[in-house]
Symmetry: C2
């Protein structure tokens, strides 16, 4: 039984034909030149056709699609920040265009499901997954099941408060973990620092081009001892480490999986988080957990969406 | 089908005959004059006989007992701080003395199960329960099931770190929530403050008798504006509120139940925690949760232990 897994990002729609073991038989991607719902659905359709054609003669039984944002009933997207969407009946539009049933899931849930079933979480029943990409998110799996919460919004780890009254977050609240540690906010903090008068290697490393500011540049400057970069970097690492450690103490998972676009590219940050988590997790929970990095890289969401298409 | 529920505290053993609806038919308690395992088992036996005798002609199908501490396999107690126990084969000793099978559970799990099935959590599937008594603990129920964790130590909310490197906690680690907000530590902080030179109403309110320092006295002094009391009280309330709010954001329960010996007696603290939780919980999770106080008071553990005797 093969399924179609789709990962809808902010710049590309990716599609893959996935087998029940979570292997990708074929994949394709299409750039999003227009972020309007119809254009995005058309791009997904092209990527899907490309993946199915590349896979040769397989029958597709179900389609799952992972989307960043807050989802409503029947696959609707209430808020899709990467695409600027509000209240889009995405599931219905996509099902009509593809001519098949579609299951819409949160992108982090898809990526976590992929890692759980085909990646770093295989064989584990109790899992905490943290992704640090442009945002910060998490999934909790207890006794093999997702902890979904009463309204389906469990795992909003990026929006716990680490500095009450602190930096304004994209969610409209202040002091969220994501406002200090998400990739988008790391870049925003560097841009703000460059407006200031304090000299910083961030200017020389980027030739004063704010578009070249990335979490990788931040790590480089911080490791070179740049004071401005260190403040931003140390705050991000400190808040992330303590918050993750506290969740391990409360949830007592067998495995912590760390992934996402920022952590995949910043080995120094990953190392510091491992140290902080080890220092601050309560002894019993610490003894039970192994800390691993996500194995499927950028494919976790594609694979997870494909596997979720036919799950329970 | 009636069961026997037992709540083993630090000063009393209590026993009750409980019906399947969580009603107490009869109960009895026996003071613990000696905390050695044999003496405690004997006191439980007396309380149990008293409860069964008071209940009249009922047949008992199973016995559950709630104990504070870290439990091992087969009802053993690895660490029982209230009783000074280490590695006591408690379940086996008690089963032999009572002549019946015994299920040993954590006291907070028992209390939470009682509230879930017969108290403030009735009808709810997703629940976060926080008890502030001499210590601080929690239980997580997701889709009607306990989140137990890989090693059965999930819910160790009292030992998350709120001040890294801060006050030494009874668990041997520093900066735990319990070290600032647990009843035992509230009293310890007041005693430490009385050793200092700063004048405080805590001395006049207690006639300089450190044995009269209680969380109720702390609240009274803080509400009268005493600076020493306010520092301790505000730190406890602030750390509790923020930590609870962040768990609500991550877990997205339908109900938060607040209980325990300290919160049951400090209405001001309860009010301030409600305010902090409302201010700091992420909007989606906040919209989904109702905050209630535990309904069963000191009986929640007895009732929960009785109900757990025959549960799954």
């Amino acid at each position: 039984v093969h399924t179609l897994g789709i990962d809808l990002g902010g710049t590309y729609a990716r599609a893959a034909v996935v087998d029940p073991g979570g292997r990708i038989l074929a994949s394709a991607k299409t750039a999003l030149t227009d972020r309007g719902p119809e254009a995005v659905v058309e791009a997904i359709h092209q990527a899907a056709e490309g993946a199915i054609t590349s896979a040769g003669s397989v029958t597709i039984h179900g389609c799952g699609v992972g989307v960043a944002g807050q989802l409503g009933p029947n696959g609707s997207v209430i808020v899709g920040p990467n695409l600027g969407w509000r209240n889009v009946p995405f599931g219905a539009l996509l099902a009509a265009r593809l001519g098949r049933k579609v299951r819409v899931v949160n992108d982090l849930a898809a990526a976590s499901w992929g890692e759980l079933n085909a990646g770093a979480g295989k064989g584990v029943q109790d899992l905490f997954v943290v992704f640090v990409g442009s945002g910060v998110g998490s999934s909790i799996i207890s006794a093999g099941r997702f902890v979904r919460g009463a309204a389906g919004v469990a795992g909003e780890f990026g929006h716990i408060k680490v500095v009450p009254g602190g930096r304004l977050c994209g969610c409209g609240e202040r002091g969220c973990l994501e406002a200090y540690a998400g990739g988008h906010n790391l870049i925003a903090q560097m841009q703000e620092a460059l407006q200031g008068t304090e000299p910083t290697r961030l200017s020389t490393l980027t030739g004063n081009d704010p578009h070249k500011l990335t979490p990788v540049v931040l790590e480089e400057a911080a490791e070179q001892g740049d004071a401005v970069a260190r403040r931003i970097y140390d705050a991000a690492v400190g808040h992330l480490s303590l918050a993750i450690a506290n969740q391990l103490t409360v949830l007592n998972p067998a495995r912590l999986i760390l992934g996402g676009g920022v952590l995949n590219r910043t080995p120094g940050m990953l190392k510091r988080i491992r140290e902080g988590v080890s220092a601050w997790t309560n002894a019993n929970a610490r003894a039970a957990v192994s800390v691993v990095v996500a194995e499927l890289g950028d494919d976790s969401g594609l694979i997870g969406a494909g596997l979720l298409a036919t799950a329970e």
